[in-house]
Symmetry: C2
Subunit: 259 residues, 2 copies
């Protein structure tokens, strides 16, 4: 049965997040409606993970199985003709049926955009969080480095979030500074709900010296959401990329001994 991997980009401003919900505009809802029209059958898509209401993506990954055969270019053109312009399919690949957008993922990369200048450009306000107060770049960078590694992120997770393991491995975390924006990039083997937004909110508190850069370690150790900073708004957050092992894209399913 053919399995397709889609790489999609979306402006999440007017959507209630990735996950399909009856009667509410969601990215998955738009995608499954368009796919259903093309394939002429109901389709269930599997995303690499949810994005929350108002969060954007330029490299969300989705897969689905179908009994129908399609040329990838035809499928991409058809989907983009049916989808609203806020949701775009950037790439379509046929993958082996062992590929799973969520379970095959090795890591994900998010970016958070902080607008630093006095006036938010009218073409950019949907994609940034406006934070004008002076920030101590050295303190922010120093705290950011302490995020890298394996930590229990309970202090940076939604209180009503996932049960179970809150341990994640942060592979990279850094800030880049441009004329009008500071951009935070974080790559991890997984993210808890609100994790990036709470980390950024806490790093901004460190940047304005409301907390010390050295507070980050004790915050992680506390494993208590009430000790960390506020979550910054979803507008600044964007799922940049989902990383998979090369083998996950293999068209030939792995041989299963005894089959």
């Amino acid at each position: 049965m053919p399995s397709f991997k889609l790489t999609i980009a979306y402006d999440g401003t007017n959507y209630h997040g990735w996950q399909i919900q009856p009667g509410i505009p969601t990215i998955q809802g738009e995608l499954e409606r368009a796919l259903g029209r093309i394939l002429n059958e109901p389709v269930t898509t599997h995303g690499s993970g949810r994005t929350d209401r108002g969060v954007h993506a330029v490299g969300q990954v989705v897969h689905f199985l179908t009994g129908r055969h399609f040329h990838t270019d035809t499928l991409m053109a058809g989907l983009n003709a049916l989808l609203p312009p806020e949701v775009r399919v950037c790439r379509v690949e046929e993958v082996g049926d062992e590929f799973h957008a969520r379970y095959s993922a090795l890591s994900k990369t998010y970016q958070y955009h902080v607008w630093r200048s006095d006036v938010v450009h009218p073409f950019r306000y949907r994609y940034v969080y406006w934070f004008r107060r002076p920030l101590d770049a050295g303190a922010v960078d120093s705290a950011t480095r302490n995020l890298i590694g394996v930590h229990d992120f309970t202090s940076f997770a939604s209180v009503s979030g996932e049960c179970g393991d809150h341990v994640r491995k942060v592979l990279d975390a850094k800030w880049e500074r441009f004329d009008e924006e500071w951009v935070f990039t974080i790559r991890a083997n997984g993210f808890l709900r609100y994790m990036v937004r709470t980390i950024v909110g806490t790093l901004l508190e460190i940047g304005v010296h409301r907390r010390g850069a050295e507070d980050l370690g004790p915050l992680l150790a506390a494993r208590d959401r009430t000790v960390s900073g506020p979550s910054v708004p979803p507008s600044g957050l964007c799922l940049l990329n989902v990383e998979y092992p090369a083998s996950a894209h293999d068209l030939t399913p792995t041989e299963v001994p005894g089959k």
Copy 2:
């Protein structure tokens, strides 16, 4: 009486152009409403010129006279607090009362953005025109060079447009090419209605070899709107800048002999 010059940027997607019209969302309408609330009196603003429905600006210039005195920073912060995020005041200057946003202008610069790749980025679709067909860059550039100079632009003006003189001086016109976009920049001492969009539509016809690059001269000479190409959509158009002589910003009104 203090006169203020505002430099404003806007996303024109959801507005019926610059010019105020009762009961219809326009940029001038938004601006005069916000100014009226701050100054506590009705205010008439004068733009450097109209922009059409759906056209954007990053450097539109506006002036108004008021009996009230304001610090420019206070006025700018107040306006941006009251205006919708699609309309931003980027700069406020107090100017001499000889300054007029329209009549003092020496020239204006517009840009037109043509999206060239297969998929329009969901953050960019409001600001571009999607045109994927192969384009002959050499032919487009050659025709573009012929725009520079003093010409009668009747062939590139709205049929129902301005009466009178259709002669304009194009000071510069060029294309820049990036990975996903071609950007056309044109500076002239004035523009007729639809002039930039009709020039771009005609240049794209030259780019796909529907017309020859050498046709541009005869098209100008014909002084007939029916001979040129279609107008491309407003989404790609942006008023980049309005240029004034340095003296137009002088706070001290020019001395008038005998006064």
